[in-house]
Symmetry: C2
Subunit: 243 residues, 2 copies
Amino acid sequence: MTTLTTPGGGPLYLQVRKLLTQRISGGAWPPGHLIPSELRLARELGVSQGTVRKAVDDLVGNNVLVRQQGKGTFVAVHDTRRALFHFFPMVGDDGQRVLPNSRVLSCRRLPAKQSEARALDLPAGARVIRIERTRDLNNRPTIVESIVLPAASFPELGKSRSERLPNTLYELYEERYGITIHRAEEQLRAVAASAKVAKLLGIEPGAPLLEITRLARTLDGTPVELRISRCLTRAHHYQSNFV
Amino acid sequence: MTTLTTPGGGPLYLQVRKLLTQRISGGAWPPGHLIPSELRLARELGVSQGTVRKAVDDLVGNNVLVRQQGKGTFVAVHDTRRALFHFFPMVGDDGQRVLPNSRVLSCRRLPAKQSEARALDLPAGARVIRIERTRDLNNRPTIVESIVLPAASFPELGKSRSERLPNTLYELYEERYGITIHRAEEQLRAVAASAKVAKLLGIEPGAPLLEITRLARTLDGTPVELRISRCLTRAHHYQSNFV
DNA sequence: GAGTGGTCTAGACCACGCT
DNA sequence: GCGTGGTCTAGACCACTCT
């Protein structure tokens, strides 16, 4: 039994939200899991249904939980559609979202560069996995990506040379390693294509590319992926909406 | 007295939210206005305080209203800090937000191009105001902007040649024309600097620039500003966070 | 029909700002 | 001390899903 202090630890609903968050990020309730009903939780925790509801509302707003009327409340899952919708902001100039196809160029385990260790909050020289790949949009090579992961969190990944990696890595992280990407910070810049990248994209060196540096984190804020994407924006663009 | 139908027009709190939205976007409650207390509204509309609260919660979540405990609930204002925080995603590479300084190059009233008319939802050939300016970040010219507005909505703007325009146009729109920008859609691309833009930024033609095409809308969705910004991203970047 | 989330009510007490 | 929003409760009825 978990104790909720009456006024001590701040508002009750925040304590409830914290408890739910812990059960989710701790793995007790994996993605897709049906959590107890609001009434059950309320009775279990000795609070009213309204208080549980407010906590759940919050987590639904943060895409951590999903409600389904008549069925119950579930831990959010990164299915392909959702992952694309949420974490792939490249859109065709006609407004169409397109499914990218990936080709992995290399996948190695090696020591982290200093900047990578800093970004991923790892000790200097810790081992990382570095994946290089290109992604096609509408059957044309459009993105060159470099992805860096802490090796310790992804035990088998990249050890076998013949390993096939799926298009949407976030599903892989979730299904095989129990790591759910929950939020990300991106920095965007315009850069000139290097000779190597230009060759991969079939363009002239020096051509302008959109460079996206993304740091992805789990629900509890741990950084788990550093990704640098260089994107050709001749027929596609990065879409960003805000209020 | 406004009538709220009991089950006819959907959930009560949505009807309340719609009503509040109308009073705000209709100008009855301008930015900064203290709206009636939840209890007053509840009595006025014949619903419970909880229902009003839920409607207000929604609008607070959308940055339309701002609550202040002990004082009341206010219509959100575009002060300089908020405008910057919300609508200016360029950040120094050290993470610092910097206040941009603007220099207006030209400000003319002329017929809309076809693409502009389409984006702004205007009849073909309608008159627009076109503002060209540069913006400095850390005292270095960094952004070249072209801003297009429907001339009919901004009666005096750009008619006097000596007019001074403030750094944050959205404050001007709000204070002088009662037009509050509420949300925006942005498309980002990497482009090569034209000769003209390169000269303004003091860089070589062909250098990569981040091009941001923004369409800004009011609360009710009317498009009111089309803005194309070309940004030097050598010491700054576009920051985008998402969950 | 039983169980779930979705909406709505009425009322309580607390924390805060003002005067 | 009064009015405001902030939290919390207890209970009602509805809409939906499943069996």
